[in-house]
Point group: D2
């Protein structure tokens, strides 16, 4: 994670100090379990907990010598201890500590993200409700299609982010597993009872079969889901960028007082936050591939995943945290130009009502094929000439004959909003109802 | 999907004929719903169902003219119909048909994959059970670590594939949604009741907010999960490749009578199936990125996802189907050399028992640090000299003093298998219990 | 490659028949080299060339038995031969044939692509020249920045595609290597002289050190360059999609007579070709990862790259061929609305001239900071109010004082085109000059 | 880039201070060019160069207010200047500075990498030469194929890295371009002469057509080439991991005195550096996708590439620098067990000579098909029984009849090394000769 985008509390979570504290937490949980099960003398856990000291610099110093971070950690933590040190890391392999502690970090990170996402969902629903009936042209292929409402557009973001919340919650459960099962996962020097009890202190469950580590399929799944959440933010950000282009200008991302858009062009107000979020989503999804590559470790484990994860986990959780926090700010402070939305609907002088005309003609007995051709002919001519579509249609005898009196009704916006309430009603109780 | 790896029934599922049949199924379901709800005359559905004809060549011919596949389909299907044709595709937009039909295809494909995976799980459990107590050296970093059993190794595959089965089932539910909501998803020309009823005929649910299409987050999630399943197969395949290398030779993939391994070297038996599966997993995960890129369609939809999906869906489902079918064959017919597994454990003349020696010394009162150093000294000397580890230890006065009489026990394999049953017991009721 | 997008001649190049023909070509080149060097009797090459028969079905039939495609090929090709068969594939390993033949295919594919790209460059230069002075608003962040010309925009595509042409030519040289060096690349049973001569018949050079195969770094580089070319097409396609959105409408991709844009909305003309090309670029770049993964084959080679390449090479060359051919059609037939381009420049009523105003103020002695603030104040007010920018400035005493008489000059388009000719002149002799 | 793997000088290159210094360098180069061309008064450049002060904290403070890093930089640098400040950034847009400065950084980074790579090539050639004739078994599919030499294996790495050096040099030229062409690249407020002169001071060339920025195709190409270099290191690292597995043990990566391989198992010496390098290559190639996605910026530029690049450029150059430096250490200090290599050749008791036997039989008049079957039969029996291959062959009447007296020659290692010198000779003058 780079400094520029690092936000608390995610930033500290991935610091060295926090990491060593998690390692210690795991070591002590195991000692406590041993003690609880009567395998070691009473009082050891208390003594170890009191005497354990984390000195980051000292650990790094020892690591230079032994070239192994866990061994350095153990030596540093225990070097001023008395005889109780013999019970520290007893029967464990490094990965028991590191991998279980990694799960603690991922669960903690996931909880932050879930909280971020829930906050984003709230402001999304507010925005959707506020613009439930704000007309806007629906666009497909970037070309005007038919009218809809801005609220529905936002509700579509809400629905996607709601699905992402469910996915995030599901993957949190998958990742909340640890392993205290020794060098090759068969509990040769530590008992399953110790594992179960120790992990329960940490809020984790044992993974049913470990190798030296927890299998990387859960981690890859985790990264994949985070990339989906990011892609949801990207979809919003991209939409805002589109709607803010000068010719459209239906929304604008917040532009603070004192802010400057360009060093050269004083008139500029650019959707830079949305662009930044767009780029970030590229970073997020790129991580999915190495995350999956990490699954096929050799035999009971190789350590090729480690360098990948040192980059990946702080980056994917840190970037997504940033995206969610800023995404919420964006949605909360979005400037919506309803007037412009309404104007834009009529930019094509009525062409966007072409389907209604065609269906009405079919309803009145014309064949679909004939109706399509007739309407397309008028529509394409209007594209060229800029002529008003209704006027053009009224020059056509067949049209006049079949639906003259009903043309006004056909060119009415309200028909497009008949079912807006039905759609919103699907989310009455929050996003879960909408699934 | 390429011919070489295309297996039925997945192959036909993605043929043009099957696609048009799904489109027709969707169109007819909508007509039936209209009729059921009394919006169109009784009997229309029956007439349409009877008169609709799918002629692939004719559709392609028309498409050349109109440059739009759905319009070509409609024209071809209805061109010999009577007046009932006016009710065909009424109020729909192409994507109502195409996207809903795509969900049908994905659900069908997913069901095939779930079935494949369940079959694979069965043979995996059989193999795991058969070798529950077959000793094998556990390897970390490719280097001998400590003994374990081959059954546990296979059980680890089983556990991972079990998690993948759950993910596949979850994503099947996510993908089992359709949309009959018109050009921009607001039901301007079709009612939500029609959608709900029509989709129920098809075994699908309405997506709560559609744009012109079903949002692509579910599809990306689908592809992501398939890539995870593939990575699980890859992990198995890679392990077998490692175990089949000439120096290890603990397992061999099936080599059929008459098969030849090399055009130049008659002695060769190569794990070509496992290698093929490994490569296929690369293909699978590569698709995850474009799948996620497809999420951010412009506004109410652009069609940039379409060309991607024409490659992606047949490829990811077809390749994974192949991988699962062949993976099952592989597991079922794996040649396991238990004798060689046992021999390999002793390749290092006892070094793999080093942790036990160290822990025993600690148990007997030596400090962890001192014990580690003492054992490491003997171990590294034995690496160099090839000397027997126990013999070397016995030359050491401190060792003799502390644990002479117990050394034999320390060098005993059985202690590594104490908890094998406990681990297997976690899967008593199938893989779900093991989660 | 899927049928829908398969265009000749690339389509046939990847057919089974063409593949076996390339294999035969390699086998015969080796025999010819042997003969030329006097290692085998005169006349053998002629007899083999005459008697070799490629029967695709027969090869596939034998492959079912031996599970090895090259062995099947050899058996089928030689089964009706006389004694000369003993010189067929003599001293070779399968990969000598397959990998050298693959290079032949890639070179051939590359030549097609180079030809496609050169044709595209021609139509790009024509379009650029035609619109050398057609004014259009330059946009950054999707927001109006300053005027430029449409010709320069197209020239920027030309320049990028020119660089891509150079890259394509460079990678063609890298890929034009073969290997006839035996099972592990050390010429144990075939001489380097034979390799060199045989490859020279095929237009290839020996790779300096082979394993069993040509190293995959060149292949990965090849795929990477193809993805860059595709991304260049995507940039054009995306720009056209942006310029075709209803509010902008400065260009339109060709819309054929008889074409239909939507099954529901007769008025639609959508940039579907550009969208398709955009999606295809996603497919192209996705292949880069597995191509790089293929580099790290085990030892002297494993065959995990093979399944990847069976998908990858036909797909990347086939898709890019399609993209280049269609890209040329697109550029040649692009509908350019120069009038609309000019109108759009003035959409913001002069705001796009803000930098010129600021610089003029600085020139007249105002500090940059003061000038920026003054101009930004007026500009942001005009954004809100829709007021004409020049009018607004003229209400400002400081502006009137400093540059009243020069304001008209500042708001003049021509100043933005002063250096257009200089830029075009860089490409006088084709794109290479412009590098 | 993360602290753990950050090595100088690459680390400082990407610090904020170095970045601002590059920006200043670009600004001053432009001023100098203006002055040289007589556009501004003499002496300005000197005054600006003397008075410009980079105060990182002050810049960041101002950025908080204006939300634009370049504007903050300009304000901070000029805030204590006199009237000469008006000539600072005159006629420029932010991207003129930022993008040109980015090229400076990339060129500098590339030069470091080229230097690293040249050093690695030297030690590779030394190792290759040292083991030019050290016999080792060649392996395909992980299975013993035929003997070769360890020197050839290393030479194959050398050849690949040599190709990578050429690619790196080529991409350095591509990236050594800047742009001083204003907001939309048409030199509206700055002359091409100024650009050319200013860039020449910086060792860069003008990109022939810029938008607001230098097109991202060169940057993507740059990242792609770096990923190829990384993949070359990965191939070496993976090979060493394979050769270090306990059963093979032909090489070992350096294990320092005092180092510890496992917290649990004192006997462990693991190839952790090679594993780390393997993982790093996954990170490297993952960046290629977002790098290519960055190419399709909207219109004359959007800023979505910026957040991507803030992560990507420090990561790809920093990680590759680390890989090359450590890769050199690895190669220089590799422990090679030649004795074990020789022993392993005979692990299969002669099976690896099977092709020689077959070819000899063909030479003696047997048909290829018959010879293959005969040899395969004996070979597969020996696989099963562990019997000596030559002995087995000698029981066969046909073999005895045809080549009894020549069998010893067939089972001779030296024949595999006949052309080793020829291959090495291709690199007489360094890796370029070998292309």
């Amino acid at each position: 994670m780079i400094e520029r985008y690092a936000l608390e509390p995610m930033k500290s979570l991935w610091g060295l100090k926090a990491q060593y504290e998690r390692w210690l937490k795991v070591e002590l949980a195991v000692v406590k379990a041993y003690e609880e099960l009567g395998r070691i003398p009473k009082g050891i856990h208390k003594r170890l907990a009191e005497n354990a000291r984390i000195d980051v610099d000292r650990i790094l110093e020892i690591e230079k010598e032994v070239d192994h971070d866990v061994i350095a950690f153990i030596k540093a933590v225990t070097e001023k201890m008395g005889d109780e040190a013999r019970y520290f890391h007893y029967g464990l392999t490094s990965s028991d500590v590191v991998d279980t502690a990694l799960s603690l970090a991922l669960v903690e990170a996931c909880d932050i993200l879930i909280d971020d996402l829930e906050k984003l969902l709230l402001v999304l629903m507010n925005l959707a409700e506020e613009h439930r009936y704000t007309p806007i042209i629906g666009r497909t292929h970037g070309v005007h299609a038919e009218p809809t409402t801005f609220g529905l557009k936002v509700l579509s973001w809400y629905a996607e982010m709601g699905r992402n919340l469910e996915r995030l919650k599901a993957v949190r459960e998958e990742i909340a597993v640890g392993k205290i099962s020794g060098a090759v996962g068969n509990y040769a020097n530590v008992d399953p009872e110790v594992e179960e009890l120790a992990l329960s202190y940490l809020g984790l469950k044992p993974t049913p079969v470990s190798t030296q580590v927890v299998n990387r399929d859960a981690h890859a799944y985790f990264v994949g889901v985070l990339a989906l959440v990011a892609a949801g933010i990207e979809r919003m950000a991209q939409e805002i960028r589109h709607l803010q282009r000068t010719e459209v200008l239906e929304v604008e991302e917040p532009f603070r007082k004192g802010q400057r858009g360009s060093s050269a062009m004083p008139h500029k107000k650019n959707p830079i936050l949305c662009e930044r979020l767009t780029g970030m989503s590229r970073i997020m999804r790129a991580h999915v591939i190495p995350a999956i590559e990490n699954i096929s470790l050799w035999h009971e484990r190789d350590i090729s995943h480690s360098s990948v994860e040192r980059f990946m986990f702080p980056d994917v959780t840190g970037v997504l945290h940033y995206m969610l926090v800023k995404g919420k700010y964006l949605v909360e402070n979005l400037k919506v130009n309803s007037e412009r939305m309404r104007e834009n609907i009529y930019l094509t002088r009525g062409l966007v009502f072409s389907q209604r005309v065609m269906l009405k003609l079919v309803e009145k007995g014309m064949s679909r094929e004939e109706a399509y051709k007739l309407v397309q002919k008028h529509a394409l001519e209007c594209w060229e000439s800029g002529r008003d579509f209704k006027e053009s249609l009224l020059t056509d005898e067949k049209v006049r004959e079949k639906l003259k009196s009903e043309l006004d009704e056909v060119f009415n916006l309200s028909q497009y909003f008949r079912h807006v309430d039905t759609i919103f009603a699907r989310f009455q109780g929050g996003c879960e109802d909408g699934r």
